[in-house]
């Protein structure tokens, strides 16, 4: 996906417009922008800064504080492995290790072909099904290492 400078600007304008005269808009704007662009590239952050008159440093301060925001491109599919307590005691570390091995990435890394990004996360709220992982919006429960090949295979 290549986006021209103008397209970036007009998208950003659209995203910030509901927040122009309101308080507390920065986080929702960043959430929306990331949703739109997949991550927060420098030109988008610059455009937000220009439009909202918020210093770049402040935006980067907020963006780096929250785990949700990404400043680098990410894979087409985001694989999240729950590292919450319930999942830990039911063996989620093995799942994570196996994924790292198969995908040749480290925590929060992205595969070279931009197919997957691997993220360990805190509880996904489905503890009853521990260990739990998600790929994009799909949740997989009671995962065993030997199931991973099939699961990953579903996502191109």
């Amino acid at each position: 996906m290549t986006t021209t400078q103008e397209e970036v600007l007009s998208k950003v304008r659209e995203i910030v417009s509901p927040w122009k005269d309101k308080k507390g808009g920065l986080i929702p704007i960043l959430q929306q922008a990331q949703h739109e662009f997949g991550y927060l590239p420098p030109e988008v952050v610059q455009a937000i800064s220009d439009e909202m008159l918020i210093p770049l440093a402040e935006i980067y301060g907020v963006a780096t504080f929250y785990a949700q925001f990404h400043l680098k491109p990410r894979g087409r599919h985001v694989v999240r492995v729950c590292r919450g307590t319930a999942c830990h005691v039911r063996g989620s570390l093995k799942i994570l290790e196996k994924l790292k091995e198969t995908l040749h990435v480290t925590d929060n890394g992205t595969t070279e072909d931009l197919r997957f990004t691997l993220e360990p996360v805190a509880c996904l709220g489905a503890c009853g099904l521990a260990p739990v992982m998600t790929i994009d919006e799909q949740t997989f429960g009671r995962v065993r290492p030997e199931m991973l090949g099939d699961i990953l295979g579903k996502f191109e």
């Binding site: 308080k23 929250y66 509880c123 009853g128 099904l129």
Partner: protein, 597 residues
Amino acid sequence: MGLYRSHVLICGGTGCVSSGSLEVLEALKKGLAEKGMDKEILVVSTGCHGMCEMGPIVVVYPEGTFYCRVTAADVPELIEEHLYKGRVVERLIYKGEGKASDVPHYTEIPFYKKQHRIALRNCGYINPDSIDEYIARDGYAALVKALTEMTPEAVIEEVKTSGLRGRGGGGFPTGLKWSFCARSAGDKKYVICNADEGDPGAFMDRSLLEGDPHAVVEGMLLGAYAMGANEGYIYCRAEYPLAIKRLKRTIEQATEYGLLGEHILGTDFSFELHIKEGAGAFVCGEETALMASIEGRRGMPRPRPPFPANKGLWGKPSNINNVETWANVPSIIRNGGEWYAAMGTEKSKGTKVFALTGKVNHTGLVEVPMGTTIREIVFEIGGGILNGKKFKAVQIGGPSGGCLTKDHLDIPISYESLSQVGAIMGSGGLVVMDEDNCMVDVAKFFLEFTQAESCGKCPPCREGTKKMLDILTRICAGKGKPEDLEALEYLGTMIKETSLCGLGQTAPNPVLTTLRYFRDEYEAHINEKRCPAGACTELTRFIIDADKCIGCTKCARVCPADAITGAVKQPHVIDQDKCVKCGACAEACPVKAIDRR
């Protein structure tokens, strides 16, 4: 609206959806329509029943038959046998420890029988997307009662009488907190619902928001009326997309009915409610950090005073409560504070929802009166330990909590009794561990979590937890020194005393309690370089029992490190220096000759 003879409730909570409940729902609707039974049988999608492990859950009324792990392929049989012929499909019946022959009513299942559901009373029983069903269960009756018959002061008095205390962890008396905010001068005030649910292993807030969102909204309305606020926020984790979707629908419906917005019920009381999505930082669950995050800043805690009741969101008086706290309020106003106070212990009133997880037979959400013992929860409701193993410990209260042992099983749970033994109620996470869980590893796990989530503002929390983690990592790798234990105790106590917010003040708890109750495990790691539970890989050794080995060579063939040698039909040996502890050999051995120690 026709009359339906039977209602089929399908769980549409996050857990069951991931186990395939949406396909079951589709299949049922289609199957019933094909048989022409869709006019007599109603299919309802509900919120979480709290038994996600057994999902997808299907309950058939009026009989109250509880089916579990239902798949779309089971649907034709369910329709033909149960819904058409009235014969229960035994194969899919929930089998606790009871016999399959007597099919218990939903409420008679041991998992539910001992529970007392107040906060969770509608979860899994109503369609959370239908405000009418909530009203049919006396929903919004408390709001009407408060606005038409009660002064704001009377509402606060009622909450005080109930003895309700904050369910978000601190346990501060809710009525008292409300009175501070009510007394605070100002024409603009805010009420906030803390739905950040950061404790990894707890999911009661998600379940409530998904299963009975109107109760949370009604609770907030009552609080806003009592304290004189006209605007509110629900701060919800972005990891809970379904909860956020349901909340949006809830707000729309309540607004259509005039229960949110201007001049509610034709009175002077107006209330506007917003949803804010969190951005993934555990520390944002702390109230001052949460408010900073709503304002669009980095979510760092700040010193109190000033308290939110005086200077909160955007400098205005604010009151923040947890999801479960809010959800209890409508029942209290409707039934009276005395009614609520009749349950529980002397100082901890009412009920509490626990998220029972880990190595128990039945995991799930459990709401019991305060004063119930841990034994009752783990063994009666939870059905005991998985695979008949031995109970070792229970971790209560998440990363700020502590690990308790079998000696604590008979403690009646209350805020006081738990803090006396070094744990806390916290959000109500209850993780059961068996003999295979290593307590040093568990302590390290929690510290890794808090260490990563420390916002970095105060040095003791930022640096101290890192030091402690280094020590624990060393111990788990078999490189611990005897003086490490004292260092851990010293650091832990120091961090507790000098940190600014609750994260730092409680982060050492899991380490300190395990040091107190499981010191021998630490000592085994340090002095004998041995992990008694066999969980710390770097300390585990795989050893072939020469008497059992039949020399089949299977293990040598699977070993990725070529660590196993031996001639055919002769006992094999593992070279410990080469072994990478993958465990493949032990799995491959047909005669179980390989021990993990």
